[in-house]
């Protein structure tokens, strides 16, 4: 029965991936277009990249975005991991339903609502809007994503490892750092990366919670895109895509190598 | 089921079983025929040019270690694998090329493969619905099956609301519901604990007898195969090593492999010293000063290297030499004792370091046994206790 379906499977995968990738590939190709018109190919050129690096506004925005994303990811990872531990390890406690509701709701909450509500909070408590309000807003919605990623690792975690450590006289606090954390580390790292990307990518929440002097890259790109397509934006996008691709490929090679080393070690051990 | 009924069924089984031997009848037509079947997965040959006949109403067991090809052999009959070469016929019809959903075989899966989103009732009715049986008939058959496996009260439950033993029964009922020509059982009791497994083995036999069906079971558990099967095929590396009734497999294994795989055995390397009609004299490396007589026709020649297989329960361990001079007697010291309750297993070290195991039933309630560690003992066995193996 697998034989009969395989052409269907192959076709659907191929078409699906073509749909996912062709727009991105076209975007990259046209960033090297010499013409200003996106629709006319006028030869290969790095013109727009040069232009891009003279666009101080865009570079400033990129710097703000990176700082926000880095801070966000780091704090959200700590908070999200704590939330994940609470939800997987603490059993029942008063207010658990409310807590898990607050952890899962932001995953699907429309961004306009989150953005608006945070802005109104910042106004109500009289916080000056800018870099820090964006960061606070980003931490809040990304920590929930981190929590879900870490939780899914924690539930498959063999509890007896922790019990063994406690049995051997390790304090709960030390057990977490010596046993639990190293084992769930891959999930924590991918939680960090997810939070980083979400923060880097966010337009709506940042637009609501920003103030003078703190313009993020998506906001800058968005305001230019609304005026129409320009190859300069294509160039900016291409650089972002290149960075992401390189990071993802390095990460996957690293995990693969780790996996291979582990397998090799296992084979050696099995061979005696 | 009350005791009276159980006894009666047992008697019937005994009565039928004793007479049942179609494989000895040259007129009998096999139900299932594997003819020169080979199955290769890439480089790996799972089944190697194998031929096998299975008869109607037979309870047939395929026994072997994991990777020996027994499961592949069964899956080819169900239709999940197609043979690379050879032919498989069921009731005279060639099965090769027929998809599984058109074959008159049903399988009970090792994992049970119960549909998790369907109730017990719907699971059992699933196959019947595929045949577009009318509703009343389906209901009647499902009820009958539920009764057969004693799960009437659980019809509405979902698989995850059942215990392991109950799931196993649902799987059995589902695969029996269509009254297949052959029921295939893939390690059907592997997930059950020992006690439940033993009970279920007898139930399986009852059901097979009651429905008069042909069962083909795959197992790596030799006790299970011996308990349930009319005949056992011992497999290794995609080939059949021996196909025979359980007692023959156990008492007259045709090779070291079978002797070692089925049951516990002591194997002594030996050379043939003398041959006579119906008897052979060996000299074992472990006891060079003592000729061993075995009452058996032996295909080997004088001077050949052979193996002598001795089951532990056929060895007697005593502190005094046996009175009867016709039995074979070896001397040794007790190296270790394993007390199992019903039996004690004595590990006896022969003079040149080879150790043999002898099982002795504990016939009295004494806690201190007369034979103890480091005792010098006599290990004796009659000429018809051992088997000479040439391969």
């Amino acid at each position: 029965m697998r034989k009969g379906l395989s052409w269907f499977n192959t076709t659907s995968i191929a078409l699906g991936f073509a749909f996912l990738y062709i727009p991105i590939i076209l975007l990259v190709i046209y960033s090297f277009n010499a013409s200003r018109l996106v629709t006319v190919w006028a030869g290969f050129s790095f013109h727009w990249y040069v232009q891009l690096f003279h666009n101080q506004q865009l570079l400033d925005a990129a710097w703000v975005t990176l700082r926000v994303a880095f801070l966000t990811a780091t704090i959200a990872t700590v908070l999200g991991t704590m939330a994940a531990i609470t939800l997987t390890r603490y059993g029942r406690f008063i207010g658990r339903t409310l807590f898990s509701g607050m952890v899962y709701a932001p995953l699907v909450m429309p961004e306009v609502i989150t953005g608006l509500s945070l802005l109104l909070l910042f106004v109500a408590i009289g916080l000056d809007r800018g870099f820090w309000t964006i960061t606070l807003a980003h931490i809040t919605f990304t920590m929930c994503f981190v929590s879900v990623v870490v939780q899914s690792r924690l539930v498959t975690f063999d509890r007896s490892l922790e019990e063994a450590a406690l049995d051997l006289g390790c304090t709960p606090f030390r057990t977490f750092f010596v046993i639990t954390l190293p084992i769930i580390l891959p999930a924590v790292v991918s939680g960090w990366m997810l939070a980083f990307t979400l923060s880097l990518d966010d337009l709506v929440i940042a637009s609501f919670t920003t103030g003078p002097g703190a313009t993020t890259l998506p906001m800058r790109i968005y305001s230019q895109v609304r005026l129409g397509v320009t190859p300069e934006i294509n160039a900016a996008c291409t650089i972002l895509i290149a960075i992401v691709t390189v990071v993802v490929i390095i990460a996957s090679i690293m995990t693969k190598r780790q996996e291979m080393e582990r397998q090799k070690a296992e084979r050696l051990a099995a061979a005696g | 089921m009350s005791n009276g009924v159980a006894e009666k069924t047992q008697k019937t089984i005994g009565g039928i079983r004793r007479k049942f031997a179609p494989w000895n009848d040259p007129q009998a037509v096999p139900l299932i025929r594997y003819q020169n079947v080979t199955k290769r997965f890439g480089e790996f040959t799972a089944v190697d040019n194998l031929s096998l006949d299975i008869y109607e109403r037979e309870f047939f067991a395929l026994l072997g270690p994991s990777g020996c090809g027994k499961t592949t052999l069964m899956r080819m009959l169900a239709g999940f694998e197609e043979p690379t070469e050879g032919m498989i016929t069921l009731a005279g019809q060639n099965l090769v090329g027929t998809p599984p959903y058109k074959r008159q075989t049903n399988m009970m899966f090792q994992s049970y493969a119960l549909f998790p989103h369907m109730s017990v009732w719907d699971n059992i009715a699933f196959g019947l619905k595929q045949d577009r049986m009318e509703k009343g008939a389906i209901a009647a058959r499902v009820e009958e099956m539920l009764k057969l496996v004693k799960l009437e009260k659980f019809a509405k439950r979902k698989p995850h609301q059942l215990s392991g033993g109950q799931r196993q029964r649902v799987a059995l009922a589902r695969s029996l519901a269509k009254r297949p020509k052959v029921l295939l059982l893939d390690e059907p009791l592997g997930a059950l604990d020992k006690k439940l497994r033993e009970e279920t083995q007898f139930e399986l036999m009852d059901i097979q007898m009651e429905l008069g069906m042909t069962f083909l079971i795959v197992t790596h558990d030799q006790e299970e195969a011996m308990t349930v099967a009319d005949r056992i095929a011992v497999m290794n590396h995609g080939k059949l090593v021996q196909v025979d009734q359980p007692a023959v497999i156990y008492e007259q294994p045709n090779s070291r492999y079978v002797a070692d795989f089925v049951g516990d055995v002591n194997i002594l390397d030996a050379k043939v010293e003398a041959l006579a009609p119906g008897a052979v004299t060996l000299r074992a490396e472990a006891a060079p000063d003592m000729p061993i007589r075995v009452a058996q026709e032996c295909p080997a020649k004088v001077g050949d290297s052979v193996a002598l297989a001795l089951r532990p329960e056929k060895l007697r361990v005593e502190l005094d030499p046996p009175a009867d001079p016709s039995v074979n007697t070896l001397t040794g010291t007790i190296w270790d004792i394993g007390y199992l309750g019903d039996l004690s297993i004595y590990h006896v070290e022969l003079p040149n370091g080879v150790r043999v195991k002898a099982a002795k039933p504990n016939l009295t309630r004494m806690v201190e046994r007369p034979i103890t560690w480091d005792d010098k003992v006599y290990v004796s066995f009659t000429p018809d206790a051992g088997v000479v193996l040439t391969s």
């Binding site: 991105i24 999200g80 909450m109 709506v204 998506p218 972002l240 | -």
Partner: protein, 303 residues
């Protein structure tokens, strides 16, 4: 581990308080402002609760609350109700399209050889790591009247050069944008549901006489339903409030509540009306959100 160390208590308290302060409290503020009236002041609404002014003033502030914003939003004279309906419709159609596009891909991935599955999975996730904005932007160049799609169709002689397809600035472009941007969110839950499925169930179905296509509908489809629900909710809920896609790809007649809220807030400067719009949007979505939460909590915690 016993509940005694203060460290343990802290692990619970810090994220809990954080979410209370920055997730729950803001909603209460939104709710309160939705009951206030606009004012030319900073902040631009009244009453402003001022606890320092004492209990009497506080009580007085309460009496100043009103449902005027809601009756304004829910009046047929304004476009809000239409926008809610249109958002739900667009999100619903997009979700169905996503399911139709995503299911075969997820199914194909789950049936692919084990060795290449991680690679396929990575290829599905990879576009997600690139900016959402970039992915929407890419479609402007493809769908515009002089865009690449029209060029291709003209070159193939399917349409004439003087009559290019008008896709950009229509709802069709919004559908394409949503399907494209949300596809990984549909594929991943479907894939994880399909990949978990035990192959022997299909073998059992075949063994009991069920041909492959029927087995798909009787076994595979019902068992993948949790994935289908998760994927649909994960796409539907954010799509209802979507703002960037209708703004960049939709036309002036594309009415979506996220865009309306943004306009009300940043152009009309009415914080009170936009709060009321947000509260009503949340009420529209509260059932799917609660449903999704339960699904997610069961998936993550209750194995």
């Amino acid at each position: 581990m016993a509940v005694k160390s203060s460290g343990r208590w802290l692990v619970l308290a810090v994220p809990y308080l954080w979410l209370l302060a920055l997730f729950l409290v803001p909603f209460l503020i939104v709710f309160k402002i939705s009951l206030s009236t606009d004012a030319i002041a900073q902040p631009p609404y009244e009453p402003v609760f001022d606890l320092a002014a004492g209990w009497e003033a506080f009580k007085e502030s309460f009496s100043a609350l009103s449902f005027d914003n809601y009756s304004y939003v829910l009046s047929w004279d304004n476009e809000f109700i239409e926008a809610y309906g249109s958002s739900l419709w667009i999100a619903g159609v997009s979700t169905i399209l996503l399911l139709i596009v995503g299911y075969p891909i997820a199914y194909g991935m789950a049936r692919a050889p084990k060795s290449i599955r991680p690679t396929l999975l990575m290829l599905v996730i990879l576009p997600f790591w690139t900016s959402f904005l970039i992915r929407v932007y890419a479609w402007i160049g493809i769908l515009s009247p002089e865009g690449l799609l029209n060029q291709l169709l003209i070159a193939l002689g399917i349409i004439s050069p003087d009559q290019p397809l008008q896709i950009l600035a229509t709802n069709t472009a919004v559908y394409i944008g949503i399907v494209y941007s949300y596809l990984p969110f549909m594929i991943l839950p479907l894939y994880s549901a399909l990949e978990k499925m035990d192959d022997t169930l299909l073998e059992a179905a075949a063994d009991l006489g069920c041909p492959p296509f029927a087995a798909f509908w009787k076994i595979t489809w019902p068992l993948s339903l949790p994935g289908v629900f998760a994927g649909c909710l994960l796409c539907f809920i954010p799509a209802v409030g979507e703002f960037v896609i209708p703004d960049l790809l939709g036309g002036s007649d594309t009415l979506m509540i996220g865009k309306v809220l943004w306009t009300e807030f940043s152009v009309n400067r009415s914080w009170t009306v936009s709060s009321a719009v947000a509260v009503l949007l949340l009420m529209v979505l509260v059932i799917p959100i609660v449903f999704y939460q339960n699904l997610q909590a069961r998936e993550v915690e209750g194995r």
